[in-house]
Amino acid sequence: MTLVLLTTVELALVTTLWLLLLATPLAWWLARSQHWAKEIVGAITALPLVLPPTVIGFYLLIALGPDSPLMALLQPFGVRTLAFTFTGLVIGSIFYSLPFAVQPLRTAFEAIGDRPLELATTMGAGPWDRFVHVALPLARRGFLSASILVFAHTIGEFGVVLMIGGNIPGRTEVLSTRIFQLVESLQFGEAHRIAAWLVVFSFAALLALLLVDRRIGTPRP
């Protein structure tokens, strides 16, 4: 049980860190660019919101399986497949939770507006300087929201994990798939315990999210 909990938390943490790293430049581009393809990229980014998790899991299983061209590229490094591994699980979670990172970040970046960035430019700050010292601090609420959402959403994920992870005890088994397993084998007592904890955790995460929005979100005139 402890092992399952550890795997779950580790997956959620690693996914959150990766997504903050990957979604930040993407959200910045979506917020600031005038490019015609912007909304197309935005829609692709939001796809995991509406796709059945089994669809994402299915494609990932093929892409990360031993016969895929992607894995052929990794062959020289001694990697034959990432299906049914923890790494595969992380990759799946990154795709699955991508919109939950991009959306709050994009909104936060858009809310900054042009003024603070133009101000910084006139003070001699170049693009990178402006991003680090103006955009990032002004978007801090978005980063907090994105972290909470991605972490909670990854804990709550089921379909993708089952497809790509295969529910292997000690490696790719997480809380949500454990519940499924317990119910299948009619161990309702144990299933109840985990399920109840997940309800409490999810509620706490959403409450934290609302408080973050209230506290740090100073209203703009």
Binding site: R115, P116, T121, D129, V134, L138
Partner: protein, 211 residues
């Protein structure tokens, strides 16, 4: 030495800007005109915040021509915006630090600027807690600490109520000529322009309508 500006900017079918003017590179020059006359567009182009077709020369240096475009952060300008002119996440003191840290050595001394703009008591305040007049004085201090070669001001008093505005005009009339630096001052208020500027250029529909 002058600032020579030749710009043509379109938005859709109509001209936003169609000017060929010279601004003296000393003293205060007012850009006067009704709203929509292109004065803010001209100021933003001069700062490098917007880009139109044409050339801009600052003295012997080129800021913009067919091939070259010097970015805002390299033009060494001070810009006082209409309304909010400080970074909202930093205190007044840290706004001044922000400007100072990115500026080359120059003639403007921090203590002197803080004294002259009268913001010593406001240094620990956050921008959202400042009144309109305080915000503008802090913005001017912030702009000067960047050690600019040119100060651009976009209707700095338009957000103030009438009594505050009168006091600020007098204060600016005293401050600006003593800075020893060219100032381009955008306003739609003729009295303000007359009080503050040596030279006044009038814009209408993006073109020079008089001087």
């Amino acid at each position: 030495m002058t600032i020579a500006i030749r710009l043509q900017g379109r938005r859709g079918p109509r001209f936003l800007l169609d000017v060929d003017i010279e601004i003296p590179s000393a003293g205060v020059t007012a850009l006067l005109g009704p709203s929509g006359s292109g004065k803010t567009s001209l100021l933003r182009a001069l700062a490098g915040l917007d880009r139109h077709v044409g050339t801009i020369r600052f003295g012997s240096g080129i800021w913009q021509d067919d091939r070259l475009f010097v970015r805002t952060e390299r033009r060494r300008i001070g810009y006082v915006f209409q309304g909010e002119g400080l970074l909202p996440h930093l205190s007044v003191r840290r706004n001044l630090d922000f400007a100072e840290r990115r500026a080359p050595a120059g003639p403007f001394d921090r203590d002197e600027i803080v004294g002259r703009t009268g913001i010593a008591a406001l240094l620990d305040a956050m921008p959202r807690d400042l009144s309109g007049g305080e915000m503008q004085r802090a913005s001017i201090a912030r702009a000067l600490l960047g050690q600019p070669r040119l100060l651009l001001m976009d209707e700095p008093l338009s957000a103030l109520d009438t009594p505050a505005r009168g006091a600020m005009v007098d204060w600016l009339g005293d401050l600006l000529p003593r800075l020893g630096l060219p100032v381009v001052y955008v306003t739609h208020d003729e009295a303000e322009a007359r009080r503050l500027a040596f030279t006044t250029l009038v814009l209408r529909d993006g073109r020079l309508a008089g001087a």
